[in-house]
Subunit: 347 residues, 4 copies
């Protein structure tokens, strides 16, 4: 199959890695040629994820396994701080790289503060393209290194960018209240994600210090053409998949709900993976579970001149693995929608 | 038992009514002498709620049953618009009344807009005391008619009032993002609360139009001494009990997290039902499930000078039935904590 | 597209109908040419199920709409007792029919007792083929009318049939304890499926009277060649999708776990939609969520000589819509696996 | 307070220990004088369980802390194999002991097989009283060492004992299919109890090898007066609290549902913590959440002459901590119901 893109999945024992494998199993033009893992290297995929039957007997290689000549693209679904130590050698070996972690999304000086490490490969930061195709797809096409956006930034940027670009919202004083299912916290068992602690619980976390904060502001800065200011508070909710962000922005000038809605609808006309709901209707992340779709709704609190824009994604799909494949499709000249489901598994 | 307060529970087939019965079963100084219901009048309590064993054979009377000489206090857990048609005759018959609905919380001119009806007994609105004991307990003591607060206003007012009273927050531009379990939507089966639609779902609803909005502003106005302005968006989350509000307020002047925390801790020192967490720790409504407690945490986004105050309550207890009993305790000179659990059923 | 099978979906406002539409949207050789509904006829699909974007503007026709010349096959996802009044005219009009309800699964005399109605078209019962492809696929190929199995019978029959056929289990005294998510109870909102009543609840229902009981026995009779006797008790559990049956059968003769496992593994060797787990491992319906797969595990209680065979399916897919499409594939000479996912959306 | 029973809680960092503290906080005649933990010794109770406010500043002592003169009774909520090394010295020091683990429930020769260890104090096994008060309350009164039953045996024994004692069921071929919330798996975070793996999942575990199997048979042997034989399969379901057992037993002789129900109702007449539902109605563990109640229902499959008896408990209350307090009440001559809630927190 000479037309197949050869794919290496790094970090296949995590939820994002597993989701890459699930989606790639149905991709018409991509073939997984290598899978790697950290602690679980040496085990088979089927030992870790019995549901991934087509890969059951694949052995997980160590994450420093050489990929030269074995793959055309590498998806890095690795802990923060690991991708940046591995990506350069893959790039040097001629692979193109999509990093699903946060290692190539910010300027170098942001890493100590927000991620707690000095960036080991700052020379690559300038070459990385931020892979939010609906906004920066043209840059993705020719990128060798794509920084796949975080789940919260994906939803927040898609919700707010058109309204900031059209100068309908003020760039300061934006509040983003986000709610996430626990798959976003990763596969590692902790007290935080114990079922007994999560059923019936809604908890804010990392108030004022979540690493997605500067990422969100960077993207909104590009949309608004000025410095934006965002207060971002994520919450953990009793769900597995699904991120919903509720964004509050003050109107720059008088505007109606229809005008706000019109700006969003027009921005995403023809976009295969963004669904703008009718004016006043609100999204539900559950409706896009398993699908590479961002559902957006907008409301207007006329008493306070505050726009309320909410967006929902499946954090493992449009918020991670699906978007990575969407980027790969663009990078390799494939149909942008190849292999990507657009109907959620609902209810 | 001459020392017992005789209690009539109106609306015992709803969740709030059932929770009143659960809590009152353990009250040392109160006795339920009558239970009423709407459509289910004529049935026994045990037919509707098998878990309420001590009341199994009590017959549900119609909601217009006379209570003169049969009860000292009436709890009205009735649909909006119904309490205000029933309360006057109960008051005239010498009962004291705690209304758990919204019929006595707002000025008369607010009802058409926010509740969709002309208030039938506006002469009583001026006499109703807003029953949030931590803020207005002194007024409750002598009240004949208490408007028991809504679940969202309870949490939001307890979270924000001390900081507004101390002029630490600006009164305008407040954002309150609220998350509620589905018991708040009531016992009536609808598509919205179908399990298949709620598991894994987070949905904003009634953006800009929820009837708790003016109620919240009224209480915050009293705290700040000026007109506050609140954008309030509630969300439905996959939980049964529990409301968590996340409140965003801009600092009026420079302040540290410790100062914010100090204001809250000092405001509620000795309050038996408010628990202020250590600075920077965030509440979890699950921890107060079944208990008459509001758990409050405060954080500070120093980048944007925004205080983040979150508060969690069990919407059926501190957000409704428990608070009503707390009000009754004050009205009848009982220990404020009588019959009210303070430890949540956790996990 | 002359090669496309034209498909009419009856009952598209129910969960099974919606799942048919979700799966058929990705079918390479089938096209939905008509959708019908009962009460919601006249509405658009998008009004009922916003996630079904490709069908958003399709109008729901009444369920008695004529289909002659408009479709090659009709899927009937209708309430019990309705299919049997509609199927004959569709068959007379030249369509082939897959009934996803229970109207063509039993002999005529069973309907009054188990379904509460006299069968209106008993002449068709003898012509209906029971559409469990792994067991009766050869009959399905040429059938005009297929009775698509119930969710519980699908799981139970796949779990037990090989062991009964090989005479490893006694045909009497079989106990089947089943657990189902609430989507099996349908989309209609009731107190039973209210989120507040279902979270944290496990409830047996219809003890000794569930209509799937005779259906299970009929299939097991065919496997064992004798009259089987089954005690079947279903339970509702806090889940949306997923049925797990735990089947208890006494060994006919001494047998080891490996022998039991060998019989199952050999029965389903090469079956694309049945996954027999390693001996002693137990299935999890969650692993096949969204996929047309039945996962089977077998254990042996050596103290009591009782085989424990458990099987999990997604009740909306392998337990309903997916299996119906699998039957259609066989009926129209298509690849049995066309359009059917085999990897669950997990976690 | 000379009338207070002084109580030491061992293992307060586990769910059962925490539930003991929650319930004891409201006990009129018991006072917790010491709390211990294993790994978390040295921390405060509030560090581990913020909801246990009344104990927030209590320091967790090591589990080998001496209790002589400091407590009248010790509750041991410790890992299997630990209680039996600690109980003898507590007993020697004059304390009475309630072991909530499995260390004193079986004969010595059963421990290697079912628990994987040689019993270190077999001389105490003969002196231990099995603390199921509804069946063996008279023995509990004078016991120094009480083996508090497991959650599954509590429910199964209460469901089946009256019918076996009255020889209405055959003692062999009993099937018990049990469903448990994840709090039964303990507070330690593991992949098994990760929220992402548990939501929407129903999984059988330890088929044929669960350590509660011989415990169940021992109690049923006492009821039937002969050797019973039970196939027991537990399942993990998406719930926190709650165990529901569904027991299948063949009728010994012809019997009606009313006769079966009569035997149960008469056995538990006046029992404060057992609620027998009307004939044919089935229990729901959710209804007794947080309460020390076992709810029992019985059905009859007349086709197969199989009685279906289901029983639900909150595994942390009637299945553990509540029952332990019930035993303490009996041991110290207190009202059996002191400090024990009988109304579940529902919904």
């Amino acid at each position: 199959m000479p037309d197949q893109v050869r794919i290496a999945v790094f970090g296949a024992s995590g939820y994002t890695g597993a989701e890459l494998l699930r989606l790639l199993a149905g991709h018409p033009s991509g073939t997984v040629t290598a899978v790697t893992a950290g602690e679980r290297a040496g085990q088979r995929v089927g030992d870790v994820y019995p549901h991934l039957v087509p890969y059951a007997d694949r052995e997980l290689e160590p994450i420093d396994a050489g990929m030269s000549g074995r793959a055309d693209v590498a998806f890095l679904a690795l802990p923060h701080g690991t991708s940046s130590t591995i990506a350069p050698s893959l790039l040097d070996a001629g692979l193109r790289v999509v990093d699903l972690g946060g290692d190539f999304r910010l300027p170098a000086d942001a890493y100590p503060r927000w991620y707690g490490f000095e960036h080991p490969a700052p020379e690559w930061l300038g070459k990385a393209v931020y892979g939010l195709p609906e906004l920066f797809g043209a840059e993705v096409v020719s990128a060798d290194l794509v920084a796949n956006p975080g789940c919260y930034p994906t939803a927040a940027a898609l919700a707010l960018s058109p309204l900031l670009r059209d100068e309908m919202l003020r760039p300061d004083g934006i509040v983003i209240d986000a709610k996430s299912g626990v798959s976003g916290a990763g596969a590692k068992p902790t007290t935080t994600v114990h079922y007994a602690h999560t059923e019936g619980s809604v908890r804010p976390y990392r108030v004022g210090s979540h690493q997605h904060t500067p990422e969100i502001e960077l993207v909104l800065d590009r949309a608004s053409g000025t410095a934006t200011s965002v207060t971002f508070v994520p919450h953990l909710v009793p769900a597995v998949r699904g991120v919903l962000v509720t964004c509050y922005g003050r109107l720059a000038d008088a505007a109606t709900l229809e005008q706000l809605h019109g700006a969003l609808a027009s921005a995403y006309r023809g976009a295969p993976f963004v669904r703008v709901l009718p004016a006043g209707e609100m999204p539900d992340a559950k409706r896009v579970s398993g699908a590479n779709v961002c559902e957006i709704g907008v409301g207007l609190d006329t008493r306070t001149n505050t726009a309320v824009v909410a967006a929902g994604v499946d954090n493992l799909v449009k918020g991670a693995a699906g978007q990575a494949i969407q980027n790969m499709n663009l990078m390799f000249g494939l149909d942008e929608t190849a292999g990507l489901p657009t109907i959620g598994v609902y209810p």
